[in-house]
Subunit: 157 residues, 2 copies
């Protein structure tokens, strides 16, 4: 979760992994996208230690992926909940891509407890490649080019 | 990189993160997709300790993401190189999604040292959502639904 600096910061994949590559971060975003907002909801879903969850939620707030909001149930003290921001919502394609890969190549069940859908149609939506005009590009046609930049492109140490 | 078991295995996002959530794995796959195959190439690109790189390459081979092949330069001993498999290639959308998010939200430069392109046209390709028929789905329209499964959906401990 450390910020990248200098030469190591050149690759945006490495930069993203420095922020969300930690094992809980993307699962917290997953739960937030699926409607969880309260500490106990994340804790129950993830089976994570409370102090670790508090730390990870704080980091995601720092990075603008979640935002804190106070709420108060009748007769109880004020508590904080965590809502996914537009920046956090833009991690959805990464989650969908990882989920699609896991479903295809690490199957333990026929189905997933989560799925992305097009809210306009109710049809499942999966991660794929599109061009600048929004047209789909088949995976077989996609190449990764190294176009520039420094030699050292790993994550921040 | 531990295999998930039991209840924790239900979510394919969590399963994928158990395999490729470790900080070097996706960067090694990135370099392999961009044409790196030899130990020294990964080492130079990543600035990673040799024993750690050897371990991570071995894990990626175990998971069928890379495959080992022997090669021998004239007058040198046989060495091994690492080629990305079709299973590994299917991680490209996850890399593209993480890279796109990093470029949008963690910018340190105007450009990236890597880009995905449609080999058929040379045009940039980015991660997005598509439906089962391959039609693009706008991010604003996408929702993550919890559809079933156990309460505990975190990564393997």
């Amino acid at each position: 979760m450390t910020a990248t600096t200098g030469l190591t910061a050149a690759c945006p994949i490495a930069r993203s992994l420095a922020v969300v590559g930690e094992k809980w971060a993307l699962l917290i975003v997953r739960d937030a996208l699926a409607g969880a907002s309260r500490f106990a909801q994340f804790r129950t879903s993830l089976g994570i230690a409370p102090d670790m969850l508090a730390d990870r939620l704080g980091k995601l707030v720092e990075h603008g992926i979640l935002e804190r909001r106070s709420y108060r149930e009748p007769g109880e003290r004020a508590r904080e909940e965590y809502l996914v921001t537009p920046v956090g919502r833009e991690l959805a394609p990464a989650l969908a891509a990882l989920g699609g890969w896991g479903l295809a190549h690490l199957p333990v069940a026929d189905s997933s407890p989560f799925r992305f859908v097009d809210a306009a149609t109710g049809a499942p939506a999966v991660a794929g490649f599109v061009d600048a005009a929004g047209r789909p590009v088949p995976l077989e046609s996609v190449r990764l080019e190294r176009i520039a930049g420094p030699v050292v492109t790993g994550p921040a140490r």
